[in-house]
């Protein structure tokens, strides 16, 4: 099993101004065993009202296929975004049965406050799953199963 460890350094409002007001969060996404090419994943956060907040990680680097992550794109569009800087928050696409692990530094204000983590998946010449797995950000560990390529999504801190 390949582990992709990513450290989020600087990206959005999520980043706590001081360490004392933030927590390390580990987001682990494991894919099913499926046949087909490696999956593209978008891991992003929505606000309590369901609107887009920020992107944590995008697995898969070819622009050609990122467009297939429609739910994520339309959430960003609806939030009025016009450009996206993926510097430092992209990596390789994820193969069948593999696990993506993201370590993120989340501000205390986001925890137990109705924010949600979404994982969207798409496979070239295969399926597309907006909201493949969705888990709330809570101080209690969460584990949910996905409906598409994602087998499990777990969030712990």
């Amino acid at each position: 099993m390949k582990k992709i460890i990513a450290s989020l350094l600087l990206c959005t409002a999520l980043i706590a101004p001081a360490a004392a007001m933030a927590k390390d969060v580990t987001i682990t996404t494991t894919l099913d065993n499926y046949s087909g090419r490696d999956a593209y994943l978008a891991v992003y956060v929505t606000k309590p009202d369901g609107s887009y907040d920020s992107t944590l990680w995008v697995a898969g680097s070819k622009q050609r296929y990122l467009g297939d992550l429609r739910g994520w794109i339309s959430a960003m569009t609806a939030a009025g975004m016009t450009t996206l800087n993926l510097d430092g928050i992209t990596g390789a696409s994820i193969g069948s049965g593999q696990t993506l692990t993201i370590h993120s530094n989340l501000a205390d204000t986001l925890i137990d406050a109705g924010y949600t983590i979404h994982v969207e998946s798409a496979v070239e010449q295969g399926g597309e799953y907006p909201d493949d797995a969705v888990a709330p950000i809570t101080s209690a560990p969460q584990q949910v199963s996905g409906k598409g390529y994602v087998a499990t999504l777990s969030v712990s801190m």
């Binding site: 070819k62 467009g67 794109i73 569009t77 450009t83 996206l84 390789a92 010449q125 598409g148």
Partner: protein
Amino acid sequence: MRRLHSLAGLAAAVVVTFMAITGAILSLQPALETASARAWAGLGSVAQLAGAVATNLPGAERLTRSASGMVVAYYAENGTQRAAQIDPATGGVIGAYEPSGFFSFITELHRSLFLGDRGHAIAGLASVAIAVLAVSGILMLVKRMGGWRRLLGQVKGTRSQRLHTFLARLALVALVVTSLSGAFMSAVNFGFIPDGTSLSFAMTPQSSGAAPAAIDSLPALAATPLGDLRELVFPAIGDATDVFTLSTAHGQGYVDQATGALLSFTPNNFWQQLYEAIYVLHTGVGVWWLALILGLGALAVPALAITGTLIWAQRRRHSVRLEQNASWWSARTVILVGSENNSTMGFAATLHNALVAQGERVHTGPMNSVRAYPAAERLIVLTSTYGDGAAPASARHFLAHLDKVWASPAPSVAVLGFGDRSFPNYCAFAEVVQAALVARGAEPLVDLTTIDRQSSQDFARWGERLGEAIGVPLTLSHTPARPASQDLVLVEREDFGCEVQAPTAILRFAAPNGQGLLARLGFKASLPRFAVGDLVGIIPPGSDVPRYYSIATASGEGVLEICVRKQAGGVCSEYLHALNPGDRIEGFVRHNPDFRPARNRKPLILVGAGAGIAPLAGFVRQNRPGRPAYLFLGARDPASDFLYRRQLEGALSENRLTSLDTAFSRVVGGQYVQHRLAAQADEVRELVAAGAQIMVCGGLDMARGVRAALDAALAPLSLSTAMLKAQGRYLEDAY
């Protein structure tokens, strides 16, 4: 160019072969898909198909259509997404969609060897390697054939060389297309070339919000022919403001689910169109016949890799090492070599290396590559003579190319001719070359010198004189390498012609029965491989130079048969005539692939006299019954030297031989074969007009007479033996 071709070929052989085989397998996919997709009997418009699918699969979310016409619908069922293959004719469900695991596996192997980006890079480099090989290969072939117009002419050379060129010419276009398109796709994959896509944050337009209309009535979908569809994403169920997202061959747009209006449409940009076109060229998706052609082309690659490696190995084994071969534009001394069987090249290499050892900048190359040499002070030409005073292979285009060089290629020249005094036109081509250079104003450094039968002493003496003339001490010591020989045992001999002063013997040799350990273990010595018309070289005791004899059998027959005419005072022929069954000689085979009947059903005209009948009798024995074969045979007296008489009469009755026309010179009203040809001129003309191939074997005098008779017979057709020779339809082995 050859170095580039060989290096790229050897380095890439394995990977390229791998890519070609996987590519050839993948080329079957479009045809299989097209066959199974029932593709072209479509409903006509996207509206009709989408309407039918929405009815048959209530949870339909997305509809895709591949280039081969296969339609797949993705739909939600109990919260999970499923895929179904759709019949494009009815919109009905054919069954669950399962992508072929086999083809996905091979595709991934082909794209990346399961090595991720490293694999992608290897695949991309393999594409570039095939492109480099194809282009350098064409350039080599153009040079070899003597110009673009002759590119499709007949190829000479060993079996590997002919097969290599044959396959390369067949597969070239397909290979250039697949390799360049593959390299392009690889460059896009690595971002060296833009693919034209970008993440778009344009607001998705919204439907008017009115009640959704029936899908098959929506105008924008009805206006899109099914053949253009790539993907249709249905609006989210229950969201009246959501839209259809429609991707077609031309671009992407949105369709209002109530009014069916096209809300916005972004046409594909240049890079997207280019990528799509190249993608189709490479994969043949949707154009199954293109895919199959490309696949067949790819199948040639393994064979090209093997024959190419064989050619490279042969060349290495035979090549002589040139130390520091300078470029043609910087060399002070240029050595040009005219050679048919490379023995002259060995002498040239000795000269080259001796000059380099004295600190000279020397360029050595074939005479066919002659051009003006800007830095050269002197040009040294070493050339043999072939045929009947004609140029050897590597000098065949010398005179034509020299015409294009203004003045002499270098201020002063020295010409050294290699030949054999037993030929009437001894070193005639060297004389022609010397005259042509002097006529262009070159200053001779030393007189034209000739070397008889590769004499090392003559060569060393010439070297001393050349050294004095150019002020460089030269010691040339070159002993022609003897080819590796093998023991042959005489098993049988038949004698003819003693009564008519033309003693000729048919000698049959076999591999010796082995002795020692290997033989006791059951390893039998075997004959080398040869075919009828190949030559056996025999080095008689007391001589350094091999004599050649045409072989009348193929190695499969288990004997090596030659026919030797005894020459008064001839070293080798007398040695062979003195052999008794059981005696051993040493010999080696020299392949003579140009002297073979063409592999077709066109008539054969065989002309030979004396010992020259031997290979022709072999060709007759191997002829397929029914292929017309006409043999003109010359001898002295039917009672004494009618060689192969019983065999040839047998062939007539088996229909392997159509007619046997004999000419005997020592009987009343004696005739030579050329007289028989003249008498049969009408029939010969008809046969040639029907595509016949002529093969002549025997003495030089006979060959000259035969050529004259044939030229006279062919004149009414505006044809000549020279023209037939250029087409490979007039073959001559004369000595």
